[in-house]
């Protein structure tokens, strides 16, 4: 025994390992040789720079889809061609994203999935259009992305307009079901990127006809490091419902400040809330997250594949955030289009996407129908943090639980 150990020198170890690798390779060879040529798909996200967390989550989601498709035998209409991902890092800059698309075009990709942020997606879709590469936008909610007449650009998920509209309608429904306890509302919104300001305007317009008064709109910049002033103001005006709209970091800080200052409105209801329906926030600050409602991207909670993906994501040590399942779905949508196109040709895939009626998604969407590249069947859900779960509470066909509203004090 002792002899064995002493004779395993570095050289013999390498020799044995190399021999093993060759043997494994030889066993694997016939399978590889049988498969058709791989079809390349570009995956571009900001995996470094300011958006790196979200970009990395997106990349993880898209890669899980690729692994699943390949494990299930690749694209069958292409003779079982594997999807070969071509990864790109936009470094959180639009111009770098566009340069990555140029690389992908040259690498011969058949389609591109990306690029999380709206401003990067605007640049990448435009660059891809130059080469006629179909580009599926995974997150980027700006409606400018799909309103430019680019025939190569698709978005499977809902855009800003559709989400805010659904956000107002769902709130009114939840409020009515609870006996209309809401008389006054205060909006807390970020005003740096226009995202929060846009939502504030739409909410105000939608709530007033229902007799709900918007008593205060409190704006703040992004990033914002202190919410004490805003929260003290809220304490003073004491609205029935607080409607926040900002990004993740501000969302966390705002909700924690509310909790610390013991400000407890009947509900906190956000639309595209940064932190509200994030497992990461729930895991880190379960008390601050309790009973917060949010209208946002969400998976179909009754779909086994969606739950399997959740488990897989969590097993990989990641949080199951909207970036993961949206990028996953965008890649699945792309694969379905390639399957139906029966070709790696960019034009054929673009056509298959434009006429897609794909129904295998893990999202709670209606029938897929592309209009100017936007899936009109896409819609958000409304969730509420209840205990250690994030439950869907609206619309009723997807609801896992009743809304707890007004929330217990």
């Amino acid at each position: 025994m002792a002899k064995d150990i002493t004779t395993t020198t570095r050289r013999t170890f390498i020799r044995n390992a190399a021999g093993g690798a060759v043997a494994v390779g030889a066993l694997g060879l016939p399978m590889v040789a049988r498969a058709a040529a791989a079809v390349k798909v570009g995956i571009v996200h900001p995996v470094t720079g300011w958006a790196q967390y979200s970009g990395s989550q997106c990349r993880a989601g898209a890669m899980m889809a690729v692994d699943e498709i390949n494990a299930a035998g690749g694209i069958k209409s292409l003779g079982g061609a594997m999807i070969e991902p071509v990864l790109g890092d936009a470094q959180s800059k639009p111009e770098v994203g566009a340069a990555e698309v140029e690389k992908m075009a040259e690498a011969g990709v058949s389609a591109i999935v990306g690029a999380y942020a709206s401003n990067i997606s605007l640049a990448t879709t435009q660059a891809a259009a130059k080469y006629g590469i179909p580009h599926v936008v995974d997150v980027g909610v700006s409606d400018k992305i799909v309103s430019r007449g680019l025939t190569n650009t698709f978005r499977f998920g809902p855009g800003f307009g559709a989400i805010t509209k659904a956000g107002v309608a769902s709130f009114l429904a939840i409020n009515e079901a609870a006996g209309s306890p809401t008389k006054t509302v205060a909006i807390v919104n970020e005003e740096t990127t226009g995202f929060g300001a846009g939502i504030a305007g739409i909410m105000t317009k939608g709530l007033e006809p229902a007799g709900i008064e918007v008593v205060e709109v409190l704006s703040h910049p992004t990033p914002n490091k202190d919410f004490r002033n805003i929260v003290l103001k809220l304490k003073e005006i004491d609205p029935d419902v607080v409607i926040p709209s900002h990004y993740y970091n501000e969302g966390v800080l705002f909700l924690r400040t509310l909790q610390r200052q013991k400000v407890t409105p009947k509900a906190i209801y956000s639309v595209l809330g940064g932190a509200s329906s994030q497992y990461r926030f729930l895991a880190e600050f379960p008390d601050a997250a309790q009973y917060v409602m949010d209208c946002n991207h969400w998976f179909d909670p009754k779909n086994p594949a969606a739950l399997a993906l959740k488990k897989k994501t969590e097993d990989a040590g990641l949080f199951y955030s909207y970036e993961v399942f949206l990028a996953y779905t965008a890649m699945m949508f792309t694969a379905d289009a390639m399957e139906r196109a029966g070709s790696a040709d960019r034009e054929a895939i673009t056509e298959a996407m434009a006429s897609s009626t794909w129904s295998g998604s893990i999202m709670p969407y209606g029938p897929t129908k592309m209009e100017n590249g936007q899936n009109t069947g896409a819609r958000p859900l409304v969730m509420q943090v209840q205990g250690d779960r994030i439950n869907v509470i609206h619309p009723p066909e997807y609801a896992e639980a009743e809304a707890i509203f007004p929330r217990p004090m």
């Binding site: 995996v47 470094t48 790196q52 970009g55 990395s56 990349r59 890669m63 990864l87 890092d89 800059k93 639009p94 111009e95 770098v96 566009a98 340069a99 140029e102 690389k103 075009a105 040259e106 401003n119 605007l122 640049a123 435009q126 259009a129 130059k130 080469y131 700006s142 400018k144 430019r148 007449g149 680019l150 005003e191 740096t192 990127t193 226009g194 995202f195 300001a197 846009g198 910049p221």
Partner: protein, 333 residues
Amino acid sequence: MAGWLIIALALALAPLALGSGRWVEFLELTLFVAVLGQGWNVLGGYGGQYSFGNAVFFGTGAYVQALLQYRFGISPWISLWFAIAGTAAVGAAIGWLSFRYGLRGSYFALITLAFAEAFHVLARSFPSITEGGRGVQLALNQDPDRALATFQFNFAGSFLAENGFYYTILAVFLASAFATWRMERTRFGAQLIAVRENEDAAQALGIDAFRVKLGAISISAAITAAAGVYYVQKYLFIEPGIAFGTSKSVEALFAPIIGGLGTVVGPLLGSFFIHGVGEAAKATIGQALGDRPGVDLILFGTILILVLAFLPRGLAGLWAALWRRLTGGDGNA
């Protein structure tokens, strides 16, 4: 001069020789940063006034170019002159406010940073004029016949679609390099260098340092604005963060500091080096380690530190030293 003709010719023929969209895009980004760097170099390299907020000029140029088209439908070929001249005026105004109160060194760096931040806030705060945080999006032209009129080459037939913006930024770069080269040889250029070397001594010799620095910041602003014009025409989108965020300010000063301060070729060398090393790092360490975002940036950062530590005069200084050693000459290639 002969050296510059070779550089210009090589850059002009590069797309034809490369025949690769990917590498043309690489050169395009390199030249874009070289223009930003040249803008910074005029004021920082020749004038010794280190700005940390050149994004204010990039952003102003970009916003003027975008808004004149967006709000008034003015032709991009006309609006670009307003963008460049307007930004030069903004540069003069910022210079007037800063130099008048004798701000130098780190105080000047801080005030330029503050101006960039102030413009950032302004761009966000007046949505009725600037579209606020949503940004300005220009209409995309897909009609090849109107490509030249709209200054949009994305759908302009194969040659222009692939190379139109490359030649745009090349023209801007060569113009900025020529302007810098001319400036170096004028009385104004000599005065600017004198101010950099010792402002008090220069003033004692009768040089109006305030006027000279004002001239330099205006030229710096005009060159940087041209980069903004290119950016808007290519990406058709500008928002406060892209326009006035610190990233453009940092890119602008990195290229000349690495390439060689106060030399015409410095910003180009520096930009080539930054992008070349970035690509090489991605192709080697990034490739070897697979899906590990950002590892290439570690190598990139290490090389940057080494250059800054051991080449105080940048790559242009290294070149001059090598030339001296090889020929025993004076190194002014």
